[in-house]
């Protein structure tokens, strides 16, 4: 079985207990009282080195098996819970946490590209293993046994709960808070709770926080922050403010309806030119500088917003050294993460795989992908990593597919998807729950026609595996989940 990268929010499958030999240095030691503090420091260093060595060994073993898992991180974390702070706590360029419901992987990738293009040495967790032990696993590949990292800045993608867990170990210098949307209610249960996690993270951040000014859950965090923390904001330019409704969850916590405040002179705003090209402007009239026009490899409004968020954080981190031309080139060069608008060449015709996991994401994907005529398939599974409850499909409007129709629905909940489309008067030509059979039928029926498959996480994993075997695609584990 090929190694599969973990979805962002899924617990890695690890044994409850990992047995490691106790390092010899820790066995049967006894010391005199006056030497205790020196010994404690020495022991600390020994423990860190031992943890790193053990983690590195586990990492090498995992690599030999062909997997890039979080297990090595777990090994090292169990042996030395302080390992994160030791490696990331004092980087000269700071450590940045990127979190929120949608867009973490893409935004992290863009921010890393922006910083590297400006000459920064950046450590990141590129495998999309966005739990703390995933960060440690990534660290093990880059640090020496003394726990020193050669990078000057760390950019870490963490899910909302693990961002807080990370902050308990290392004070983030910067936090980029993207959005709060309904996602995986199985796990977080309520969006109010998720919003609270982000507010806690922001409160623990020492230097700078960048907020989504259009998202009420995120924007409202600003009022809770200390004056000493630098605030940055990103959002949509007034020219596309009408798209806000589809991006926003209903915030029922306060009496007043959330009204997006007029942008400040320093706010970083997205101003699209057309379906593919956009500018990122600073301030409402664009007077504070401009990045663009940019055309991303990845399609869709969501990716443009992610680029705006990453630019806002890069600007805060780089200050006067931020260069708009360098930024535009860097953004244009970022490849789409696995499944985020990834385009696969099927004998000269493009097949787009679009991951959908919550109403906001699916709605944005439909409206930005919907205008070019293509054949459409939708694959819905309901495994834990997909979200077991498919109710959310009824919070998405599928009307944009009405005129072209949907060629096939597939996955475990293929009939539920067909039923959903039927209620939006979208014609469904066929239903085939088996993903392999559906893919064959879909491609055979649309030779030479551009195709697009909207799919939930595990459906995408299956489809990607079938496609990888037939076409020359990067293997699993090389891309983020």
């Amino acid at each position: 079985m090929p190694a599969m990268s973990m979805p962002n929010w899924m617990e890695p499958l690890v044994p409850d207990r990992v047995r490691m030999p106790r390092p010899a240095a820790l066995r049967g030691q006894s010391v005199a009282g006056d030497r205790r503090s020196t010994f404690a420091a020495g022991l600390r260093a020994v423990r860190t080195s031992a943890a790193i060595a053990a983690g590195k060994a586990a990492r090498a073993a995992a690599k030999r098996r062909g997997g890039g898992s979080a297990l090595p991180g777990l090994v090292a974390e169990r042996m030395d819970p302080g390992i994160l702070g030791h490696a990331l706590g004092s980087l000269p360029g700071g450590n940045v946490v990127v979190t929120g419901t949608n867009g973490k992987t893409t935004t992290t990738r863009m921010l890393v590209a922006l910083l590297r293009a400006h000459g920064r040495t950046v450590f990141t967790n590129p495998t999309g293993s966005n739990f703390t032990r995933g960060v440690i696993s990534a660290l093990l590949g880059e640090i020496g046994v003394r726990g020193r990292l050669s990078a000057d800045t760390a950019v870490l993608e963490l899910d909302e709960a693990h961002a807080l867990k990370f902050a308990a170990a290392v004070t983030p210098t910067h936090a980029l808070l993207l959005n709060v949307a309904r996602d995986q209610l199985d796990r977080f249960a309520e969006i109010d709770h998720t919003a609270g996690l982000l507010a806690d993270l922001a409160a623990r951040t020492s230097t700078g926080v960048v907020l989504n000014r259009d998202d009420s859950f995120v924007a409202r965090i600003e009022g809770t922050l200390a004056d000493s923390v630098r605030i940055g904001r990103f959002g949509l330019d007034a020219s596309i403010a009408d798209r806000l409704g589809e991006l926003q969850e209903q915030d029922t916590r306060a009496d007043d309806d959330f009204v997006v405040s007029p942008p400040d002179a320093d706010d970083v705003l997205l101003r699209p030119r057309d379906e593919r090209r956009f500018d990122i402007v600073v301030g409402p009239d664009g007077s504070g500088g401009l990045v663009g026009p940019v055309e991303l490899k990845q399609r869709g409004l969501a990716a443009m917003i992610n680029a705006t968020a990453a630019t806002a954080m890069a600007r805060q981190l780089l200050g006067a050294t931020f260069d708009a031309g360098v930024a535009a080139t860097a953004l244009a060069g970022v490849t789409a993460p696995f499944g985020r608008g990834e385009v696969i060449d099927i004998d000269g015709t493009p097949l787009e795989l679009v991951l959908v996991k919550n109403p906001a994401g699916f709605t944005v994907a439909l409206s930005t992908y919907g205008t070019t005529p293509v054949a459409t398939m939708i694959a819905i599974n309901d495994n834990y990593a997909d979200g077991r409850d498919v109710s959310w499909l009824y919070d998405v409007s599928f009307e944009s597919l009405r005129s072209a129709g949907v060629a096939l629905t597939s996955g475990v909940r293929a009939y539920d998807m067909a039923l959903r489309l039927q209620y939006d008067d979208v014609p469904v030509a066929a239903v085939e729950p088996d993903l392999g059979a559906a893919l064959d039928r879909f491609l055979a029926g649309h030779v030479g026609v551009p195709t697009r498959i909207f799919c939930t996480y595990t459906a995408m994993m299956t489809l990607r595996r079938i496609l990888a075997a037939r076409y020359d695609l990067p293997a699993f584990g090389e891309e983020g989940g």
């Binding site: 969006i191 029922t252 077991r388 499909l393 539920d416 209620y423 469904v428 729950p433």
Partner: protein, 241 residues
């Protein structure tokens, strides 16, 4: 020509509809159209005047913050809802609104929040969440959906359940009951949303509503429910074999 107007009221779509429950209202409205009737959908928001005509009333699940925000309005429109229920108006209340249609919600720390009392049930706050797919048997055949609640609901002595759980937790995970039914008022924990995959139940609600709206019995059209029947029977097969 339309067989007549049917007024559908959705209570608190903003505060109490976070798990796709608006899909129930949209699906019932679409079914009315497909059966040849003219649906008129009213979204009732807190503080607004309750619609003059109401032949079918729906409500959904919400977060605690949403529930807190509708309590005062629910108390204000309570007498009207009681009168409509007594007159046979069908109502479908999901999850949080089901709890608010009961006698009371008792929080984890013992605080008693009174409900409308249209259903003789009491809900106890619970640290454990009951989450997962559900299959139950009802007067309308097997009904499938998805539950996600921490409240544990008990039926009073004479209160009928909506269904018997075949797979899942139901009201409390212990007594095998799911939801409650008094006259044409239904409370249930099932999201899914419940209406689209269970068309027999959907049309039963319409059959209660149509005579109140038009003075004549429900005359259904020919609807193709193949997708719904496939979706439902596959869930039943997966969960109870």
């Amino acid at each position: 020509m339309s067989k007549g107007e049917v007024h559908v009221v959705h209570l608190y779509p903003r505060e109490m509809s976070i798990y796709g429950d608006l899909g129930n209202t949209r699906a019932l409205s679409t079914r009315l159209t497909r059966h040849g009737y003219t649906p008129v959908v009213h979204n009732h928001h807190p503080g607004a005047v309750f619609p003059e005509q109401a032949h079918l009333v729906l409500g959904g699940g919400g977060q605690d913050s949403g529930q807190a925000r509708v309590e005062a309005d629910l108390e204000a429109i309570g007498p009207r809802l009681t009168e409509l229920a007594a007159g046979g108006t069908p109502m479908l209340m999901i999850c949080g609104m089901y709890q608010l249609f009961g006698n009371a919600f008792v929080t984890v720390d013992g605080k008693r929040l009174p409900g409308l009392g249209l259903l003789d049930v009491t809900t106890q706050g619970n640290p454990k969440r009951m989450i997962g797919p559900v299959v139950m048997s009802t007067d309308f055949g097997d009904v499938v959906g998805y539950e996600n609640h921490s409240g544990s609901t008990r039926l009073a002595g004479g209160q009928a359940a909506f269904g018997r759980v075949r797979s899942g937790f139901g009201n409390n995970g212990e007594d095998g009951t799911e939801g409650a039914r008094t006259g044409n008022v239904f409370g249930t924990y099932l999201h899914g949303p419940i209406i689209p995959a269970n068309p027999r139940f959907a049309d039963a609600l319409l059959a209660y509503a149509v005579p109140l709206a038009t003075g004549a019995a429900f005359r259904p059209g020919e609807l193709d429910d193949t997708f719904a029947d496939e979706a439902r029977t596959r869930q039943v097969a997966r969960l109870v074999g």
